[in-house]
């Protein structure tokens, strides 16, 4: 039988709230550390220097080719065997950041490649040195293309953090499992946890939409364009209705 009482007591359980907070914190910090690393990796893969290209390419290949779960267990449980002992949180962050950066680097690379060649040429012709060409002209335009897939990654990461429960990080899933063990209300407990995840991803969706508007400045701002779309679609809809 489903118990509403149990469900609501899970929802308001401080254990779960604290777990959700850990999940948000882990996701945000991982993403914030992974993104600059991803930019470096993406630049490395486009480098003129062959060893840099090879090393960064190998890193991406390795991280994307093996499961995060395996990477986490190796970092937390395996590495002490060779004398490298990391705390629970450090191990979790290391795994999440290294893994996520590999995926994000592909997004960064696609974003940079999407910027028309004429843009960097115009910047160079003005006399901008290479790093300014990248920071002032290429990166802001690449971001516009990157925000939707980056947002997707953030959304995914919110849920991927459940994996670090395996190395005993007390994030939302692990806290829920503890709480469930007191009354064995598995369905109510995990439904409550699922709701928390849903709330977090929904909230993130709003943040993402705001970000997209911000980085999209200068694009699709012409009034003539939206008017044209409206004029084109309205008669089509009327036809369908008949």
């Amino acid at each position: 039988m489903w118990s509403w009482d149990a469900f609501f007591s899970f929802l308001s359980n401080p254990q779960l709230i604290q777990g959700a907070w850990t999940t948000i914190w882990l996701t945000t910090v991982s993403m914030a550390l992974a993104l600059p690393l991803a930019v470096l990796v993406a630049l490395g893969r486009a480098s003129r220097i062959a060893p840099i290209r090879i090393v960064t390419g190998f890193y991406v290949w390795l991280m994307r080719g093996t499961p995060l779960l395996v990477q986490l267990v190796i970092i937390y449980t395996g590495l002490p065997q060779v004398g490298l002992r990391l705390g629970v949180i450090s191990a979790a962050l290391t795994g999440l950041v290294l893994n996520e950066a590999a995926y994000l680097s592909e997004i960064v690379r696609a974003g940079v490649l999407s910027v028309a060649r004429g843009q960097s040429e115009a910047a160079r012709a003005l006399g901008m040195p290479p790093w300014k060409v990248f920071r002032v002209v290429v990166m802001p335009q690449a971001l516009r293309v990157m925000v939707p897939p980056l947002g997707n990654s953030f959304n995914g990461l919110l849920k991927t953090t459940t994996l670090v429960s395996v190395i005993s990080v007390e994030e939302l899933l692990r806290r829920t499992q503890f709480a469930v063990q007191t009354n064995f209300r598995v369905l109510e407990g995990l439904t409550a946890a699922a709701l928390y995840y849903l709330a977090m991803t929904t909230l993130w969706g709003l943040v993402q939409r705001w970000l997209e508007v911000r980085v999209g400045r200068g694009h699709q701002t012409g009034p003539s364009r939206s008017r044209r779309i409206k004029r084109a679609t309205v008669p089509a809809l009327e036809l369908e209705a008949r």
Binding site: E121, A122, R124, A125, L126, G127, M128, R144, Q220
Partner: protein, 260 residues
């Protein structure tokens, strides 16, 4: 020619510029000198190397051999212990500040307003304070007839307006030389005039310009010299009058017959 003309300083000196892409030799040893205040129009069949040559002048293309000097400074190479060695991109960037370039596709930065496009060079290259750069940009936009478009993004402007912003952006760096790479080729016919008007005005103010273009009207009205480039070589280099009325080479005559 006359004595006073040779007293005018050289802005561009290109000697024996060669460039190949794989097996294809696009530039086969081009020479060109341009003096201060001259307007040189480069004409020629497409694929003849005009644009490639223009782009070697600010080192957007690196010539395989030959030397480009702008205001006496060798572009792309520096002197190290008496030997000419290639410069790093960071140093070439400094050399490019003397040269402005206007592109066929405008290449305005789509995420910046017209005002910030024009201010971008001074702000990001010369570290001019933003307010000061914007004030100067406002004046330049007024000069090209776009005082009311400062807050518009490139997507909200017509092609002719975008190209005028692009000219203002190049001018904001106070260049000694302006390069135009087919500035009107991507424009609707009714917008060509507004861009050419700005260019004619720049000429009156004494700007040194090299223009790759097919605008014969501009050639006759505003060019001091017409340089005809075909098959990677300079075939003819004359005043517009002589070029159109008395071309010396068969290749030039063929070309003129086809386009006039």
């Amino acid at each position: 020619m006359t004595v006073e003309k040779t007293a005018v300083p050289l802005v561009v000196e290109a000697r024996q510029i060669r460039k190949s892409y794989g097996e294809v030799e696009v530039l086969k040893g081009i020479d060109l000198t341009v003096r201060q205040g001259e307007v040189v129009l480069i004409l020629g069949p497409s694929g003849g190397g005009k644009s490639t040559f223009l782009r070697t002048l600010n080192h957007l293309e690196t010539p395989d051999s030959g030397a480009v000097s702008i205001c006496g400074e060798r572009i792309g190479y520096g002197d190290r212990a008496g030997r000419q060695v290639p410069l790093r991109e960071r140093r070439i960037a400094v050399q490019r500040r003397r040269t402005g370039m206007v592109f066929q596709q405008f290449n305005l930065f789509p995420n910046m307003t017209a005002l910030d496009n024009v201010a971008s060079g001074p702000v990001h290259v010369n570290d001019v304070p933003k307010a000061e750069a914007r004030a100067a940009a406002r004046e330049l936009l007024a000069m090209v007839g776009l005082a009311d478009k400062t807050g518009s993004y490139p997507a909200q402007l017509s092609g002719g307006q975008q190209q005028r912003v692009a000219i203002a952006r190049a001018l904001a760096m106070r260049p000694e030389l302006l390069l135009f790479d087919e500035p009107t080729s991507a424009l609707d016919p009714e917008m060509v005039g507004e861009v050419l008007d700005v260019m004619v005005r720049l000429r009156e103010e004494g700007m040194t310009m090299i223009v790759v273009s097919h605008e014969m009207g501009f050639a006759r009205a505003a060019a001091d010299r017409v340089v005809f480039i075909a098959d990677g070589l300079v075939v003819e280099d004359k005043s517009p009058d002589l070029f159109f009325s008395a071309p010396e080479h068969e290749r030039t005559r063929q070309f003129l017959e086809r386009i006039l």
